[in-house]
């Protein structure tokens, strides 16, 4: 692939978004809505193969000279993220077509805009441009979070907008500080700058702080478990695949390029990451609603992913990236399957659901395997993801090794028991007696007796099951996947090829 084709990852979804507003028919809108992420995902796959020979592709957009222009850069890490996020987004959008939510006006256009922002944020090599693409990603999300909504979702929309606008302001100020202290916001020119100058280090830290809020790292995580479960399951799956993950990607990229190694304050990172893992895992106990429990598990997952950065060895970063890929897919599967159950029985509360293991054995099997992946049991991608993190910790310095291995195992036990609580509430027990059928006008209908033939339909369960199969595939072909992660990690530990490709 020619480097000049990189802007297409942004241009194609944006164009499709414009078309989706003009063309109103359900079939063409669905083709555009699912076709574009499938296309960018295939593009990401193509880039992955391309990067085996050429590690970095860089395009100076508009043919301005290097250093002045805004570069779009792709390496193995970028390509991997584009591939995984676009594929998961496509499956989340497939779920939206099954619940009928895609027939809300503007949902196809908004979700395509979201993809354009995500791809741009993953590709860009310029901090201010990152801010702009993050905004391009967030603006449609403000509408998406409330659009399929009932009254309650508007309230959550407020929380989401206020938190994200405040965070974006901090990000903007941070980018300004970087420009003031280093004289450039081009990431390649900033390589190693934060390690040399304390003022640049402080400025970069402000940028990283704002990204940490967007990722949901612990002292600043409070918005995530409130906002996400309150939207519909399809939209939550969409958000969980992109928002926090783009923030995590940016943290990985900016941290490793500007510090070229561990930051002087990496001890803080260790403490914050350990707290994130434990608080996320143990807060799951307090929840009685499936998707709220999953949102806390997302917080825990963010902590696990950042272990790679806190240790900063090639293997730890590879393990962190592996965990990120596994987490995107597993979370998508769990959220979409929970959504299918909610859509069918009208509730996600443990006490309103019971006996699904007998009523929907296949859906239960999908859910069980995804929960295995979440906790880290074989056969699942989560098993290798956690083994990788433990191994990376073991080979690190003494106290970090003790801290992280303890934290990972204690958090896994917590997640296991919390998952068992979910399982015994939703899947075991006597059969339910009544339910709330889906109602197009009111969202949920009145509580009525549950007939024998009402089951989670195959078309609703299929998207979640597809993602579950994807994580099983990662488990089976882990040997083939790991070298890709290692190459992605090399791009972060050795930034010289990245700098050379951009600045020529």
């Amino acid at each position: 692939m020619n480097a000049n084709m990189l802007p297409l990852f942004v241009v194609i979804p944006l164009l499709a978004s414009a078309l989706a507003i003009m063309i109103r028919g359900p079939i063409p809108q669905r083709i555009l809505m699912i076709g574009s992420p499938v296309l960018t995902s295939l593009g990401g796959l193509w880039l992955l193969f391309e990067h085996r020979d050429t590690p970095v592709l860089a395009d100076n957009v508009g043919a301005f000279p290097a250093g002045v222009s805004i570069p779009l850069i792709s390496d193995t890490f970028t390509a991997l993220m584009i591939f995984v996020t676009s594929a998961t987004v496509a499956i989340a959008l497939w779920f939206l077509t099954q619940t009928g939510e895609d027939r809300f006006r503007f949902i196809p256009a908004l979700s395509l805009m979201l993809i354009a922002g995500v791809n741009g944020a993953l590709l860009t090599g310029d901090l201010f441009n990152l801010f702009v693409f993050v905004e391009v990603m967030l603006l449609p999300s403000y509408a998406l979070i409330a659009i399929t909504g009932t009254w309650r979702r508007l309230g959550i929309g407020r929380l989401f907008v206020v938190v994200n606008l405040t965070t974006s302001t901090i990000l903007l100020v941070g980018v300004g500080f970087v420009y003031a202290s280093a004289g450039t916001v081009n990431l390649a020119e900033l390589a190693g700058a934060a390690q040399e100058s304390p003022s640049v280090s402080l400025a970069i830290s402000v940028v990283l702080l704002s990204l940490a809020i967007k990722a949901g790292v612990v002292p600043v995580h409070g918005w995530l478990p409130r906002a996400y479960p309150a939207t519909s399951a399809g939209i939550m799956a969409l958000f969980s695949a992109v928002h926090t993950k783009v923030a995590l990607y940016a943290i990985y990229r900016i941290y490793s390029v500007t510090f070229e190694g561990a930051a002087p304050w990496s001890t803080v990172l260790v403490v914050v990451v350990a707290a994130t893992i434990l608080i996320g895992a143990y807060s799951t106990f307090g929840e009685h609603i499936m998707r709220r429990a999953l949102a806390w598990q997302m917080v825990s997952g963010v902590g696990h992913i950042l272990i790679g950065l806190a240790l900063f060895t090639q293997f730890s970063i590879a393990a962190g990236i592996f965990y990120m890929v596994h987490h995107i897919i597993t979370m998508g599967s769990l959220i979409l399957t929970s959504g299918a159950i909610e859509q069918t029985y009208g509730s996600g509360r443990y006490e309103r659901l019971a006996g699904l293991a007998r009523r929907d054995p296949w859906v239960s099997a999908v859910y069980a395997l995804s929960l295995f992946s979440l906790v880290g049991f074989p056969p699942s991608a989560g098993f290798f993801a956690k083994i990788g993190l433990v191994q990376a910790s073991a080979s690190a310095g003494a106290w970090q090794a003790w801290t992280f291995i303890t934290v990972i195992i204690v958090a896994a036990i917590g997640s296991l028991i919390a998952s068992q609580k979910l399982w015994s509430g939703v899947f075991w027990g006597p059969q339910m007696e009544n339910y709330r059928p889906d109602s197009p006008r009111a969202g949920r209908g009145r509580r009525v007796p549950l007939p024998k033939d009402v089951k989670v339909s195959a078309r609703l369960a299929a998207p979640g099951a597809t993602l579950m199969l994807a994580q099983l595939a990662i488990f089976i072909f882990a040997g083939a996947v790991l070298p890709v992660m290692l190459r992605a990690a090399t791009a972060l530990t050795d930034v010289q090829p990245y700098v050379e490709a951009v600045l020529g």
Binding site: V132, T150, R152, L154, R158, L165, S168, V173, E342, R444
Partner: protein, 112 residues
Amino acid sequence: MISVLPITIGVLVAGGVYLMLQRGMVRIIFGLALLSHSANLMLLTIGVTAWRGEPLVDRMDVATAADPLPQAFVLTAIVITLAVTVLMLALAVIGHNDDTKRMPSTGEFHDR
């Protein structure tokens, strides 16, 4: 002259944070507007430590012209903040009433 911008920024941040800690959505919106104005002024101080000429090629000597990049940053940031402010004002009108504890009867059921 140099201390005018920092003092203005400080006042804007203080007012913005104060307003954001209030209950009403409209006040939070005003708070965010103040906060984003302070961020914009902060960006301006990066390029302009004193009053300088317009950054126009051929018209102005590079030595006396202002740095155009922070101005471009501010322009972009203003546009984004404007759009989000409009959306938030819409949410303030159609969302919860600020002190309502019960849901209005919209014919929807809230049993997630």
